[in-house]
């Protein structure tokens, strides 16, 4: 598998993503600078977390306008899988690849901690190594992860299995108490129609190494390598 990591001014999980990919693929992902308008042929594009352009105005909005994003949208339209994590998710909604918007957390505070997620389905390139309804533990770290979409969009997402992960408690129950940011329906990540683009607030790349406290994130990268090699 060949993978790219997009780097914006202010990205700060680009190295973390690079390391997680490298460990899973046994080769080097390419780091692609936001100002480029071209990108080598890759099987996976990742848009990492951070504070692109300081998250000023709206998280992800300025990054969504950078030259490389035209190419990302272009490839995504052709079916190249795209994974956006945290700020990357925000960039994907701002660029129109994913519906809805990520608003300020309901409690208005930045929140960094492990959360539990319920994996909806494993019929995607991202989740093949998980089982449906599997409970996983992955950290979040964001100020603007409060997923919003209009009712019609939400219904469509749920009805067509496009909610990738829901926040849940340690028993797997999707409850308000387990929702760390006020996201509608406890949504932690969503797919595009073809399920080739995934945006998620939690950081799988941060728990892909036992010494860091867990490996639940690793399965996503292993799954991608298996599906795309």
């Amino acid at each position: 598998m060949k993978a790219a990591v997009i780097v914006f001014p202010g990205s700060n999980c680009d190295r973390d993503m690079q390391v997680a990919l490298r460990n899973a693929m046994d080769s080097e992902p390419v780091m692609v600078w936001h100002g480029n308008s071209e990108m080598p042929d890759v099987d996976l594009i990742t848009v990492p977390g951070g504070f692109s352009y300081g998250d000023y105005l709206r998280a992800g909005c300025m990054a969504a306008k950078s030259p490389i994003m035209k190419e990302v949208v272009n490839r995504a339209t052709k079916g190249v899988p795209v994974l956006g994590v945290c700020n990357g998710f925000q960039v994907l909604t701002e660029s129109g690849l994913l519906p809805g918007a990520l608003m300020r957390n309901a409690a208005l505070k930045y929140v960094c901690r492990d959360v539990h997620l319920k994996v909806a389905a494993n019929d995607t390139v991202f989740t093949s190594q998980y089982t449906p309804d599997q409970l996983i533990r992955i950290p979040i770290a964001h100020h603007d992860g409060n997923y919003f979409a209009d009712d019609e969009t939400l219904k469509k997402l749920e009805d067509t299995g496009r909610v990738a992960f829901h926040y849940c408690d340690e028993t797997g129950a999707v409850t308000d108490a387990a929702n760390p940011n006020g996201s509608q329906l406890g949504i932690a990540g969503i797919y595009n129609k073809r399920k080739t683009v995934l945006g998620m607030m939690p950081h799988p790349e941060r728990l892909a190494d036992a010494e860091l406290g867990g490996t639940d994130g690793q399965s996503m990268f292993k799954g991608l390598v298996q599906a795309l090699s």
Binding site: P9, G10, V19, C112, H203, D209, E211
Partner: protein, 741 residues
């Protein structure tokens, strides 16, 4: 020269006083200048000789601190201290205060504090890998406290999270003595290659002086003198001098500087901190024994019609000054332009030994560098007389009533503001970005553990100080602060290497305050020597008083340790049932100045627990050895709240309870055994108690089995409490206080 001087106000005694210079100091100014300074020159003297920049009250004493060890590459005097961690790598770190600005504008004050300390570290060529923060607020029910906590924590997070450096730990306590003067001390730890370390000394007449980063505005003019003046009620009027931080620009600046540092363009580099362009250019020239000539027209400016005075004193954030090798400007410029940052050639180094400033084609200042730097005041014992703090009487534990239910007392203690979980704080900090924060070293443990990227090595980092001990006995408190940091690092298995300090005190012109300072330094010095734990950087913040009420003496210590095999590190959580809990160290049941005395008996008195430095060394080295030998499942040092609190913290970190065996108390009253704060102690959870006990006895280290893990309760002497109850008390205080429950 003379025509411009005419444009500036006449230098009256009042203007001199407003610049914080005493008549005697102004006399020296006249002597050095050989004439009256103009306002720009006066401003330069004023900031260079402020307490904040010159350390005039503290220098004399700071020099007594041990600063050397075989692993020290660079001690105090540079932007940050540097220690060798082997394999061609070095750790660069420092702690700094941003107390006054944070009181005036908590969010921006704390944020710019983080920004400033980050710059001190990456200026030396290190990539920042960890931030810590040591916070002191007024009593929780003081009307300002909540607002200050909220703003400070948001500001630290807002800055650190955005630049992408994990904030891994710290301290946060409350006391009425900080009602009008909070403390916000921030520490940054970075990693550099030993052959790519950069210093501030600039050499080579004719070399270009370069300004990079954000533009200069009228921010924080007089920030440095403000940080050196005692607060009065009306100092809130100085508000508009607050600086606003831009962490996004800082992130770009980090990347651009580190990228430039991979080339060999740089001769010297220095961040613009307090007193901005003045102190950075002065320091670079003075350290290299050079002169400097700046053309202020070339300084990137954010506002119109800025004067030379304003530009020289501005504290706009996210700016750096560098001296480059001639001819390398274009290569450097390309890097900064890629990162979308300002880059301007603002001057040249000269061999005149003078600082000459040009503005609009005129010479607006011309002063000698060395005389100004060397003549900066240093107050010795005559100028800053001090009286030692009277030793408090010891309290006999038997005179303190025993609680009816010791576990009710424990539950109350664990929910007291100083003891309660600070999760509310650390969850607002990204403590995992950079993906090297070890699971065992996340916030909540003794020391933060962060891997050196791409290696098996890890750093252990801790900050500590117990101001109530320092208030009662500054010498003992100084010893204790250093020893506790050392202990926190040791409890992870890491070898403590060096410290940075942030000396927060009241008005040094009062002999009793100066006595606290001298005492604390004395205690720190002894501990540093005994523990081979030198001071490599630090910061002094004086005049922390309002209307004559001083803060508790607070010598905050930040320490760094190294563990060569990160897989050997331990955390404090009890991970299994049936582990034996061993208490290492001598227990006497010392309740004077204890958390128990304060929270349960409502008394803040007595002598603090004495720190026996040889016992610290012996016990700590033993514990570290056992951890590295693999005999230890979990380890925690004993501090506030003593044995009972430490056991509770270990149990709460997982869900497994502990039964303590009261027989182990021997003749000590149960409550003194449970809550006494005797020093040099650790708890170890182990599967091989016999081996550890034997080893301890061989080493001459006191060790006793005090309990066993199992169940989900804390029990002792027939009392029992579900862990969930203790945890509720521990976890709920801060969210309830801050109003998010």
């Amino acid at each position: 020269m003379n025509d411009t001087a005419n444009l500036t106000p006449e230098i009256t005694p009042r203007i001199v006083a407003e610049h914080g210079l005493s008549p005697a100091e102004y006399g020296k100014v006249l002597e050095i200048m050989g004439r009256e300074p103009n306002i720009t020159e006066l401003g330069i003297f004023s900031v260079m000789w402020s307490e904040h920049c010159s350390y005039k009250s503290s220098k004399y004493w700071l020099k007594t601190l041990p600063t050397e060890a075989p692993w020290v590459i660079c001690g105090p005097g540079e932007n940050a201290g540097i220690i060798d961690i082997g394999d061609g790598q070095a750790v660069v770190f420092k702690m700094e205060s941003h107390n006054h600005p944070s009181y005036i504008e908590p969010y921006q004050g704390a944020a710019t504090g983080v920004g400033g300390i980050l710059r001190d570290v990456f200026t030396m060529g290190a990539r920042p890998i960890a931030n810590m923060n040591s916070l002191r607020f007024g009593q929780p029910n003081h009307p300002k406290t909540k607002h200050l906590v909220d703003g400070v924590v948001a500001g630290i997070g807002g800055y650190g999270n955005c630049v992408g450096v994990p904030t891994l730990g710290g301290e946060c306590t409350f006391h009425a003595a900080y009602d009008g003067n909070i403390l916000v001390n921030a520490m940054t730890v970075g990693v550099a290659d030993t052959d790519k370390i950069f210093y501030s000394a600039a050499t080579g007449a004719g070399n270009p002086v370069i300004y990079v980063g954000s533009k200069t505005g009228r921010d924080g003019i007089h920030g440095a003198t403000m940080a050196s003046a005692e607060f009065t009620e009306d100092s809130e009027e100085k508000r508009p001098t607050v600086q606003v931080g831009d962490p996004f620009t800082e992130k770009l600046l980090i990347e651009a500087c580190l990228e430039l540092m991979q080339t060999d363009c740089i001769v010297g580099i220095q961040d613009m901190g307090a007193a901005g362009l003045t102190s950075s250019s002065f320091e670079m020239a003075s350290k290299g024994r050079m002169g400097v000539s700046l053309n202020l027209d070339n300084v990137p400016q954010r506002e119109e019609n800025m004067t030379a005075y304003e530009m020289m004193l501005s504290e706009s954030q996210e700016r750096m000054l560098m001296v480059l090798k001639p001819g390398s400007e274009d290569q450097a410029r390309a890097i900064f332009e890629k990162w979308e940052l300002d880059f301007a050639v603002v001057g040249t180094l000269t061999d005149t030994g003078r600082m000459v400033l040009m503005h609009h084609g005129e010479k607006v200042a011309d002063l000698p560098i060395d005389p100004l730097a060397l003549a900066s005041p240093e107050y010795d014992e005559k100028d800053r007389p001090w009286t030692p703090t009277p030793k408090p009487a010891s309290i006999d534990a038997k005179s303190i009533p025993a609680p009816n239910d010791p576990l009710a007392a424990l539950t109350k203690l664990m929910g007291a503001p100083d003891m309660a979980s600070k999760r509310w704080i650390w969850e607002q900090y990204d403590h995992m970005v950079m993906a090297d924060t070890m699971g065992k070293g996340r916030p909540g443990g003794d020391a933060a553990l962060v891997r050196i990227h791409g290696t098996n090595k890890a750093l252990a980092i801790a900050t500590d100080c117990t101001p109530r001990y320092c208030q009662a006995d500054p010498v003992e408190g100084g010893r204790h602060a250093v020893a506790e940091v050392w202990r926190n690092i040791t409890a992870t298995g890491a070898k403590p290497l060096a410290i940075t300090d942030c000396m927060n005190f009241g008005n040094p012109e009062r002999p009793e305050i100066m006595g606290q300072f001298v005492g604390a330094i004395d205690g720190m010095r002894e501990a540093c020597l005994a523990l081979e734990f030198p001071v490599v950087s630090g910061n002094v913040s004086l005049y922390n008083e309002t209307n004559g009420e001083a803060i508790l003496p607070t010598p905050a210590i930040g320490g760094v340790g190294l563990i060569n095999d990160s897989s050997k590190a331990v955390g404090l959580n009890i991970t299994a049932e049936g582990l034996t809990i061993l208490l290492i160290g001598e227990t006497g049941g010392h309740l004077g100045q204890s958390m128990y005395l304060r929270e349960i008996e409502g008394r803040e008195d007595g002598a603090p627990p004495p720190v026996d430095l040889s016992a610290e060394r012996l016990n700590g080295d033993f514990v570290r050895g056992q951890i590295n030998a693999g005999s230890v499942v979990a380890c925690h040092d004993l501090s506030d709240g003593g044995l009972a609190a430490a056991v509770a913290e270990m149990a709460m970190a997982s869900t497994i309870g502990v039964a303590l065996d009261k027989e182990a108390a021997g003749a000590i009253p149960l409550h003194a055994w449970l809550f006494g704060e005797d020093q040099a102690r650790y708890l170890i959870a182990t599967t091989s108690p016999e081996d550890v006990l034997n080893a301890a006895s061989d080493a001459g280290v006191p060790a006793t089995a005090v309990g066993t893990s199992g169940g989900h309760s804390f029990s002792v002497a027939g009392f029992s409490r579900p862990l969930t109850e203790i945890r509720d008390a521990h976890e709920s205080w801060m969210p309830a206080f801050m109003g998010t429950v």
